[in-house]
Each structure stands twice: as C-alpha cells, then as structure tokens.
C-alpha cells in the first residue's frame, strides 16, 4: 500500500515524550499534565488551559538507575519510566497525577516524587495520587467521582487556576470525542477483508493521540481518515492471519510491527494505550453532571484486571470475544509485560477461557518493555501463525 501522508509526522511525535506538539502547547501557556494509567479519566486533564500527556519512555536503553530503585522484579515499564524521569526526561511536566492502580506504577511515581525528578523551576508543579474503585458499582462510582474531584480537579484549579466547571468539562469531552471518533473511524478500516491500514500504522496514530495535545493532531487525523477512504489495498493479502492483541501496557510500536512482520495482521488492539476501549467516545447527557458521567463510563468500560468483581471479570473475556468477532480475528495474542502481577493472572485465565470455552486459537506471551526485534518473540508469533494456517487448512 502507498505510504500514509502523515505517518512520518506521527512517528516522529512518538520519538520522545517531550515532543514538538507538547512544546508548542506549553509555549502557548498551557499546562502539561502527565499520567501513566488508563484509570485516570483523560478529559479531566484536558480542560481549557491544560492538556494530558500519557507518559512513555521511547528508545529506552539502560534501566540501571530504575532497577536500583525498583529492583529487577518490577515491570520494565515502571523501571523505564523512573529511569527516564531520573534522566530529566519528564521535567517538562507541570503536574503528575497517578491512581493507586497497580503497586508498580504507584511505587514508580512515588520514587519520582521522592527523588525530586520533576518540577524544577516550575512553581505550581505537584504530584497527586488517587484511589480508584476495584469494583464497578454505585459505591465505586461515588469514590471515583470524589477522587477525581479531590485529586485532579481541585489541584488543577488551586495550582493553575484551571476552570473546572461542568461546562469546561463538557468542552473537554467534546474535544476528546472528536479524537475518539476519528480514531475509531480509522480503526474501522481494519474490519474488512482487505484492510487499508496496517495494525502498526493504526498503533502509531492511536499512540500519538495519547502522547500529544489533542487539538494539535486533530486536522492530521482527519486528513488521514480521508486518505484511507481512497487508499488502495494490496490485491493479495499481505498477512497469514488476523489477530487480536490483548493485554497489558504497550506503548512501543515495535511490538505490533514485530507481530505483523511475523505474518499477522493486528486487526484489533485491546491493551492499555490501545483504542479498545480507550478511544470509545464518552456519551454525555444533560440530566447529570459531566464528571459523574465520565467516571461511570470509565469505570464500566475499564478492562483493567484490578477490577475484582465477578461480573467485571467475566465481562473482560466476553469483551475480547465480541471484539474478535467484530474484527474477524483468526486468533488472539494475550500478552503481558513481564513481572506484571495483574496481567500474569489475567493472561492465564483469559487465554485459557478464550481457548477452551470460546474456541479461539490463543498465544500467551510475556515480553519486555522495549521489544526491539526479539527473535524469540518472532519465532513464537510465526509458530502461532502457522498453527492458525494449519487449522484453516484442516477446516
């Protein structure tokens, strides 16, 4: 297929956390609010006057300092983030907000605070931590709303004078939804028999939407959508099988590229930093305040394995099944970052249930943060592709 016009621009954005659009927005006087976990409602960090940056550590090499502080048993994501923070790579942030989601992320951010890695020369800089619910229900919602109010909205108002009114929140949601709709519309091209976008390309666009101020990428995303409508597909399918990738945090486009180079087409992305359900638009009504509605939707759609009630646990697997059907996946790759406790269990259960009860071919793998061009992973994915092909022949 012909190259996408803006792909290089989006790829460039992902080369560093403090990318050109973040610098541009800050030069306009807007405050950059860092976060690392999908349980922080993104629109609340994108109120007028501020914008969100979901932190990544692109081109991670050595993690020696991160490993010293966190030991080699914490996931590489948390170690890479701390390393980058210690290098001064996140010093551009104006605030850092984190939920007590998993122990590792929480400790990572606490170390960032204790080691004074950020805030130098930034008068209003603050760290804040929030509790988030572990069950999706009315009590969880009350907690979520209260925590967002106390640990996101109030500090933003107090430190930077951000307008936290219902109207301002609704404006942020409207902008958030425009990006979500664009990403979802682009992502829908993956459903067809002859997809006009690769999983890698889509991953780049989605990641950019987390890593840069939304208003500054909207035009290019809209142009990309138009471009895809006209894009000619390769007459002969370039992949052996369509796979749905499920699991923990992936902010490294190399992983999706590696999977696709091994003969797969990543037709759907159900992982943290992915579009499903991360780029579901937030539907607001006028009957209730916006904050409560945002929290409710984040809570009920959340696929984080830390949600412990049975309905949520079952729903995680049925959601994967529904996505596999919707995107016509031939197989599922359950991946987890090594040393991630929540996904270690979810991967075991999910891969087992999707294989045994739903009948999908499933590959379960763990991986480092920066996958590079891992031969081991390539071999595993290739073997998985072959097994799916054989299954198709037998069918």
């Amino acid at each position: 297929m012909k190259d996408l016009k803006h792909l290089i621009f989006f790829e460039d954005l992902l080369q560093e956390a403090n990318n050109s659009l973040i610098r541009q927005a800050q030069s306009e006087g807007r405050k950059c609010i860092g976060y690392m976990c999908e349980n922080v409602p993104e629109p609340l960090l994108n109120l007028p006057g501020c914008f969100s940056a979901r932190l990544r550590a692109p081109r991670t090499g050595s993690m020696e300092m991160g490993t010293y502080y966190l030991t080699s048993f914490l996931c590489e994501y948390s170690r890479a983030m701390l390393e980058r923070a210690l290098e001064g790579g996140f010093n551009f942030l104006d605030a850092m907000i984190t939920p007590d989601g998993c122990s590792m992320l929480n400790r990572c951010v606490e170390n960032m605070e204790l080691l004074r890695t950020m805030g130098e020369g930034k008068e209003g800089f603050f760290f804040d931590y929030m509790e988030i619910p572990m069950k999706a229900d009315y009590n969880g919602l009350d907690l979520y709303v209260l925590q967002c109010r106390n640990h996101i909205l109030k500090p933003l108002q107090e430190h930077y004078g951000i307008d936290i009114s219902d109207e301002a929140i609704r404006r942020a949601v409207a902008q958030h939804n425009r990006i979500c709709e664009l990403i979802r519309a682009i992502g829908d091209f993956r459903k067809g028999e002859h997809p006009v976008i690769t999983g890698y390309e889509f991953n780049v666009l989605t990641l950019a939407s987390y890593s840069a101020p939304k208003d500054l990428i909207e035009d290019r995303l809209a142009q990309t959508l138009e471009e895809l409508k006209e894009r000619a597909y390769d007459p002969k399918p370039w992949y052996k099988a369509r796979v749905l990738v499920v699991g923990s945090e992936i902010d490294d486009t190399d992983f999706i590229r590696l999977v696709e180079e091994s003969g797969a087409f990543v037709c759907a992305d159900r992982f943290c930093y992915g579009s499903l359900p991360g780029r579901d638009p937030i539907v607001l009504t006028d009957e209730e305040d916006a904050l409560t509605q945002i929290c409710r939707q984040y809570m009920y759609r959340g696929e984080c394995p830390r949600y412990m009630n049975t309905e949520k646990m079952d729903a995680r697997r049925s959601y994967v099944d529904a996505l596999a059907k919707e995107y016509h996946a031939d197989g599922i790759i359950y991946q987890q970052m090594k040393f991630c406790d929540p996904w270690a269990y979810e991967k075991m259960l999910g891969s087992h249930i999707l294989r045994e009860e739903y009948g999908y071919p499933v590959l379960a793998v763990d991986r480092p943060y920066a996958i590079g061009s891992s031969g081991q992973m390539r071999t595993r994915v290739q073997a998985f592709m072959e097994s799916i092909e054989i299954k198709k022949i037998h069918a």
């Binding site: 502080y69 204790l114 931590y129 040393f339 075991m348």
Partner: protein
C-alpha cells in the same frame, strides 16, 4: 551521620541446659536428633505442653472424618510436623519466655485444629454436614474477619489458612507442589508465591468444598486480588457458592476513602445476611469489639516494653500471635482474651525481673518487610546466633487505636467505619499500601522510637510493593547512618532462596560489615534444607 550502636547487654542469669542449638540438627535430616534440654524445670514444663499438643492432635485424629480429610488433601501431610513447629519457635527459651511462647503457640494449634475439624465437617467430600455447611461463610486467608464480628451463629472459615498459610509454617516445602501446579497452567513464575499457591490448591482440586457463601478481599496485594479470581471461578461456577468481593481502599490513611470502605463493609454484611438468612447481632459485635480492644491494649503494652532495654514479647512470637489474633480471631474467640491476659501477666513479671531471652543482647533491630514464611523461626535464630533482638516487625505494626465497644446508636454507625479501618489496616497491607509514608517514613520513625541500631529488611523478591521502595530504603538508611541488612527470600518457596541462603545473608553482613563473631557458632551453618 555516624552509625548508631546499641549498648551490649549481658544476661546476668545463666541459661540452663543446652546452649549449642545447632548440635541438635541432623545432617540432611527432616527432624532433629532430640529435643532441647532446658534444665529440669523448663524441660518438664515443655514436656507437659508437648503432652498437651499430643492430646489436641489425638483428639483431632479420633474423629473419623478428620482421618478421611487427612487422606484426601495433600496439604494435610504437613500437620505431621506440628510438634516440630513448636520446637522451632521455642528454641533457646527458658522461664517466662518459654511459657509465653507456649501460651501463644498451643492456642494457635487448638484454633487451627478446630478450623480443620469444621472444614471437614462441612466439606461435601468428607463430612458433608449440609446444615453445618449452610452456616459457613468462607473467607480469604489474608482477610480481616471483622465482618463476621456480628454473626454469632455463623462460622467464618478460611480454606487457604490451613492449606497454604499454616502448612508452610509447618513444612517449608509445603507450597511447592501447588506453586508448580499453578505454573503448569500458565501462571508466570514471577508473582508472589502465596496467592500463586492458593490458586494452585484450587486448580489442583485440593480445597474443601463447603459454605453458603464466600467473602473475598483485595488484601494484601495485586497478586492476592487476582489470585482470588481463580478461586472464585471454581467457587461460583462449579460449586455454586456465591462470592462477595470486599475491596478495602489502598490509600487507607486518606479521609476521602473511608466512606467507600465503610459502605463496602455494610454491603458485605448485607450479602451475608441475604445468603445465610442470619441477622447482624449488635450485642455480639460489641462483645467482639471489646475483645479486639483488649488485644490492641495488650499489643500496645508489649510494644512499649520492647522500646525499653528489656523487651518481652518480640520476634516470631509477637509476629505469629499478632497475625492470628488480629486478623483471623478479631475478637471472636474468648480464649484469646484469656491468653492476652495471661501473656500480659507473664510479660510484666519477666519485665519486673529484667529478664533476658538470650545470653547476650548485642543489637536492637526493627524487622521490616514481609517475612520468609517458610522460615518464621528465623527471628529466634537471629537472637540465638547473633544476639540481635528483633524488637518488632512490620507485620506487627498494625492498628493501635481503640474501636467503639459500647452499644449506642452513634457507635453502631461508627462500627462500620471501625470494621473498615481494621480491614484497611490488615496485616502487611497496611504497610505495603497506602503510600510511601506508611512503608518508608514510618520505618525510620520506629527505628527512633524503639531505639534500634539495625534494620533487618526482608526482601520478599516478588513483592512488588516492597521492591518498589528498595532504593529509597537504602538511601534513607545511609543518610541516617543505620545499618540495614537485606534478606532476600521468596516467601513460600525455599527452592529460590533456602533457609541457609537466608541465614548466609546475615552471617556475611555480621562478619564482614559488623566484624562480629556469632554468639552460638553452631547455628551459623545448619543442614536444614530438607527439614520440615
């Protein structure tokens, strides 16, 4: 800052009987050559308590269904080692110390025997007493049982306590089979082996099946929370036992999470009422609350004593008893009130006489982190081998506040917050969660408070919440000039770091950094890799 040093204290009283405890170990053996000689009086006392334990075990085995249970469940084989567990914890103890230890250990044994008896009575495979099973609410192993404080007619039973928790205390290798089973089913090897083993028991079809309903909790960690998902799957979908998940907030010191926590307690109670048809009994609740306060007062007093030169209830005795009394008992068993009072009497008596538990006290240590469960008597070794007094440990530093114990309308409302508070401050999780203040800052406050000159920092290698403060612990200790010794272990799995591996870390530190010689050289290297 200069390195802090405690004054060396010599015991004016001679230790009667054996003093080279390492000589009792048999090379490569599972058990020891013989029991310890403690002088005539203390040996006869220990013998009489041994007879008592034998009587408890005999009574247990006399019930046919318990024998059936023993033959059905693999983890029951570990209970053959009960007397040895007591021997391990009483090593080197004489006089009041020996009596205090027995008071605690023997009561715990009786309590666990009752738990097993109840489990087998209701178990569909063994006793199959349906009427009894309908009165059972299953709880997690690491669960504060406060929500059972108002149900006098119900039994809150934990299947994981006897199958994994106590089993590993009895036999260091007890969990290995279940860890392997979980990993065979695809669970990563880098998660905490405790929930991993508990999930393994469920996967291996080796858990008793009973109960009207179950309450699971998110204590103590991410692994524990997720491991429950494996267990509840079997409970709900196969055994037809409904499960209520009780989440306790992680940032438990924050005011803005307390209402959430209290509401979850209310809902858990409602769930139990709906499932069992029983009603919450406030009289019973406040009776239990009164006993919780007695236990808290006692523990506070012991901790106060441990701040002086003459600590009395400390080390693994403090840790094990606190874990049992605070979490599993939670005021529901009157015998523990009696034990608390007896222990207090003994401790005061020994304190008045300025008694010491070893020939020499060289260092005063705060033991922090999560202890190696397969080597709970390590703290006894620490004292006997190196004269290091483990003043208190992280797991014993739990709630110190009194809860409402009189029945008034206001207190009935406050009770939900009290139960939530106890649950949030459950052992271990009250330190491993709640932000760095409770784990890092307070450790160094305790060092000051207890006048300690050393920190023994357990590094349970797959405990992510603890590992995540590794560097900060070191930085802070260096800043304050406190010697800090890391002791790596893998909680339930001695194949990763053996007991000798645990000891070697102390031995090396004491010889090279502290430049000291052991108090009892026979304990420095022990052949107990194969031992229970």
């Amino acid at each position: 800052m200069a390195v802090k040093k405690a004054k060396k204290m010599i015991n004016p009283e001679k230790i009667r009987g054996d003093v080279r405890y390492g000589d009792l170990y048999k090379l490569g053996g599972k058990v020891r050559k013989r029991r310890e000689w403690r002088g005539v009086k203390d040996t006869l006392y220990d013998y009489s308590r041994w007879l008592g334990i034998m009587f408890t075990l005999g009574k247990f085995v006399a019930v046919p269904r318990n024998v059936k249970g023993m033959l059905r469940y693999r983890w029951m084989a570990n209970y053959l080692a009960v007397p040895m567990m007591v021997d391990r914890h009483t090593q080197g103890l004489r006089g009041e110390y020996l009596r205090m230890c027995h008071t605690q250990q023997d009561l715990i044994i009786i309590d666990v025997a009752k738990l097993l008896n109840n489990l087998f009575r209701g178990d569909r495979r063994i006793g199959n007493d349906k009427a009894f099973s309908d009165k059972v609410v299953l709880v997690d192993e690491n669960e504060m049982t406060a929500v059972m404080m108002g149900f006098p007619t119900l039994k809150g039973l934990s299947r994981e306590t006897p199958s994994t928790y106590v089993s590993v205390l009895l036999n260091q290798h007890a969990a290995e089979h279940y860890i392997d089973v979980a990993q065979e089913f695809g669970l990563a090897g880098d998660v905490c082996p405790m929930p991993e083993a508990e999930a393994g028991v469920s996967i291996d079809d080796d858990a008793p099946v009973l109960g009207k309903c179950a309450i699971q909790c998110n204590t103590t960690c991410d692994g524990s929370l997720l491991g429950n998902g494996v267990i509840s799957r079997r409970l709900e979908k196969e055994d037809g036992i409904p499960v209520f998940q009780l989440p306790a907030p992680l940032r438990h010191r924050e005011d803005d999470v307390q209402e959430y926590a209290a509401e979850e307690i209310r809902r858990a109670i409602r769930f139990i009422e709906e499932q069992t048809g029983e009603k919450w009994d406030w009289d019973y609740y406040f009776e239990c609350a009164r006993r919780v306060n007695i236990a808290t007062k006692a523990r506070n007093e012991w901790l106060d004593m441990n701040r002086t030169d003459y600590p009395q209830i400390f080390g693994s005795n403090l840790a094990l008893y606190t874990e049992t009394n605070y979490m599993a008992i939670c005021g529901k068993v009157p015998e523990f009130e009696k034990a608390d009072k007896k222990l207090m009497k003994l401790a005061r008596k020994a304190y008045a006489k300025r008694k010491m538990a070893a020939p020499e006290y060289r260092h005063r240590a705060i033991v922090w982190g999560v202890q190696s469960h397969f080597y709970m008597d390590f703290l006894v070794w620490l004292l006997n081998c190196w004269g290091i007094v483990p003043l208190t440990d992280m797991l014993s530093m739990i709630n110190t506040e009194m809860i409402a114990e009189t029945d008034t309308p206001e207190n009935r409302e406050k009770a939900y917050y009290d139960m939530a508070w106890l649950t949030e401050n459950m052992i271990m999780r009250n330190r491993t969660h709640g932000g760095y203040r409770v784990l890092l800052d307070e450790l160094f406050e305790f060092v000051e408070m207890f006048n300690a000159d050393m920190i023994i920092l357990w590094e349970h290698i797959t405990c992510k919440a603890l590992d995540g403060m590794h560097g900060m612990f070191e930085d802070r200790a260096r800043e304050l000039g406190i010697p800090l010794v890391w002791v790596d272990h893998q909680l339930f799995d001695p194949r990763v770091v053996s007991r000798q591996g645990v000891r070697d870390q102390i031995n090396t530190f004491m010889r090279t950094v502290m430049q000291e010689e052991p108090l009892d050289p026979s304990l420095e290297i022990l052949e107990d890799g194969n031992s229970w």
